[in-house]
């Protein structure tokens, strides 16, 4: 189960209070009715599409999870392998997301503020993880870091195990969620321009002070959104992690891998429960961002 980025939440405009009713002509009434029908039709279409693609499956998972009451769910949630998978997922996310955040901001600054040869190429490279299938990413990591891989001998000599262990899973997760922060930050950097940064410089701020006090606060919503997308992607990553982890039960199984494992072993309650936990984690991330954004933004840009 590879989660795609969260969809944009659409908010329907507040219903327009109708003006005091004047006696309308038949033509006007027909036109108004047609417009209302059109609006209703469009709305139904959009909502229906969402319901079929997103709503129904989610509701079904919810329903199937609790189909047999709370006790089996509790058992599934507290199963040792499930707990392990949960914490492993959290661990992988907790390492790869900060890494990608720092890298993404740095890359965005480089691409948007820097002037160097090969910038265009770098901009293309950064999007590569979006284009390549996660399975290919996993395989190519094995080719480099695996036992018979390019760096395999050196890693083995130094007692570092990458493939079939956490470092490899972090690596795979980092690669597939690489572009989000940079891609969300670059347009914001472009929009804010360089004036404020130059102003800070003339006021005596060092490059470091300028970054922390002027640039970062100005781009923070782009960064936050990038982080949320990265987190969602990292949590749900299946293909790449599946290959580099070796899917060792109770050892290198993240939540998505665990869901797959339970599903294949006809433990539907286990699979549905873990899937629900995964969905709730993603939802929590989205919600946290939403709250954060609303609180601080409301104060500043009144």
């Amino acid at each position: 189960m590879s989660s795609s980025g969260p969809g944009v939440v659409s908010i329907s405009p507040p219903a327009i209070r109708s003006a005091p009713r004047l006696p309308a002509s038949d033509a006007q009434r027909t036109a108004r009715r047609a417009a209302r029908a059109r609006k209703l039709g469009l709305r139904t279409l959009a909502l229906g599409y969402l319901a079929l693609l997103l709503g129904a499956p989610l509701v079904m998972i919810f329903y199937r999870t609790f189909e047999h009451g709370l006790a089996p769910v509790w058992n599934a949630v507290t199963a040792p392998n499930a707990v392990h998978a949960f914490w492993l997922s959290i661990e992988v996310v907790a390492i790869s997301v900060p890494l990608n955040t720092i890298f993404g901001i740095g890359m965005a600054l480089l691409l948007e503020r820097g002037r160097f040869w090969g910038k265009g190429l770098l901009g293309l490279l950064i999007d590569l993880p979006f284009a390549i299938s996660p399975v290919v990413v996993g395989l190519s990591l094995v080719l480099v870091y695996g036992k018979t891989g390019w760096l395999g001998d050196w890693l083995a000599e130094n007692g570092i195990q990458v493939i079939f262990s956490v470092p490899g899973m972090v690596l795979a997760t980092a690669v597939v969620s690489l572009p989000f922060v940079a891609r969300e930050t670059i347009p914001v950097l472009r929009e804010i321009g360089t004036d404020a940064e130059q102003a800070a410089e003339t006021l005596g701020a060092s490059a470091w002070q300028t970054f922390w006090r002027v640039t970062l606060p100005a781009i923070r919503w782009g960064v936050v959104y990038g982080v949320v997308l990265t987190t969602a992607r990292a949590l749900g990553e299946f293909g790449a992690v599946s290959i580099v982890s070796g899917r060792i039960e109770g050892q290198t199984q993240t939540l998505p891998l665990y869901v797959q494992d339970r599903f294949e072993n006809f433990d539907s309650t286990g699979a549905y429960t873990a899937a629900l936990v995964l969905a709730l984690l993603a939802l929590g991330t989205l919600l946290a961002m939403n709250l954060l954004t609303r609180r601080t933004r409301g104060r500043m840009e009144a």
């Binding site: 004036d195 404020a196 102003a199 410089e201 003339t202 006021l203 005596g204 006090r213 500043m300 009144a302």
Partner: protein, 321 residues
């Protein structure tokens, strides 16, 4: 501190922004860099500030050659055309920025900010955010922010460009008075000759990356050394190679044999000033500027034929380029 720019060149790709430019700004002077867009005036200002590095030449502030020095060590206050506010900070935090990156004591910063906000008349707005200020208020906040660190020189890029006419007028007057009060060497960029004449003590006229002429407003107006300066500073009539100021054209009540006949095509009343559009005997168009009183006395109306006396026209040696 005096500013000296020597033989500065700067190109952006093929475009030559500054072509061997040298200027001197005396300590404590209020100077305008005046020119049309693309004349290199903003680039020159940014080079003085250290926001742009010259391809060759030197920049000296006080006794120090700062050519290679980064902007943050130059002790310049810079006010950007669009003010470059720190949008996530309150007005007082914006003004305090230069002091707080220098890690001055908190109470000292607070005192200085209060003083500066008083100076720029933003006392009550300390807690506001830039998005809650008008253009004129933002302008004054940017100025206070630049002044907070007690710069050796103050540089302003099109400081009044983005404001509406009335606010612009007030701020010009205010900047002049502020300069009299604090006497920091000030250079501002403008494309508006009226603004330069009104505010500056010295004007440097620029065109195509070169300096056309520098001097006091009066000097530039009365003795322009070339065609560009003459036509950029103040209104002109062009008669072939010669130039005549509209207010130097005399309209005579009675022909006295010394003048030329002319037909009034249009009389435009602009308040105190009246613009008279004339066609000369030889078919050339010209306009004269007279006061309201003169126009009334002479009873000027369109279609009237009268006599005008032209002053000795100014002719400039034709220029290379």
């Amino acid at each position: 501190m005096a500013i000296e720019v020597r033989n500065v060149r700067k190109s952006f790709g093929e475009f030559v922004a500054l072509d061997d430019v040298s200027i001197r700004v005396a300590d404590g002077a209020l100077t305008a860099l005046l020119g049309p867009s693309g004349s290199g005036k903003s680039t020159l200002l940014r080079i003085i500030a250290g926001l742009e590095t010259p391809d060759s030449g030197e920049v000296v502030i006080g006794d120090e050659d700062v050519t290679g020095a980064p902007a943050r060590t130059r002790g310049v206050g810079f006010v950007f055309q669009h003010y470059a506010p720190f949008k996530h900070m309150t007005v007082q935090d914006n003004v305090a920025f230069g002091l707080s990156v220098r890690r001055r004591p908190k109470d000292q910063i607070r005192e200085r900010v209060r003083e500066l906000l008083g100076l720029v008349r933003l006392d009550g707005l300390a807690e506001r955010y830039p998005s809650q200020l008008s253009g004129g208020q933002l302008q004054r906040m940017a100025l206070a922010r630049a002044l907070a660190v007690q710069p050796q020189v103050l540089l302003l890029d099109e400081p009044f460009g983005a404001l509406d006419a009335q606010v612009r007028g007030e701020l010009r007057e205010w900047l002049r008075r502020l300069h009299e009060e604090i006497h920091v060497t000030t250079v501002f960029v403008t494309h508006d000759q009226e603004e330069a004449m009104e505010v500056a003590e010295q004007i440097v006229v620029m065109n195509h990356g070169r300096i056309e002429q520098a001097g006091s407003p009066r000097h530039l107006y009365e003795s322009p050394t070339n065609e560009f300066v003459m036509s950029f500073i103040g209104p002109v009539n062009r008669l072939g190679d010669a130039f005549v100021r509209p207010h130097d054209i005399q309209i005579l009540p009675e022909p006295d044999g010394t003048g030329t006949e002319a037909l009034i095509e249009r009389v435009v009343h602009l308040g105190f000033e009246v613009r008279v559009e004339l066609k000369l005997e030889d078919g050339r168009d010209i306009w004269a500027q007279v006061t309201r009183e003169e126009a009334q006395q002479l009873e000027l109306t369109a279609g009237q034929i009268l006599t005008v006396r032209l002053p000795a026209p100014r002719v400039f040696a034709s220029q290379a380029t």
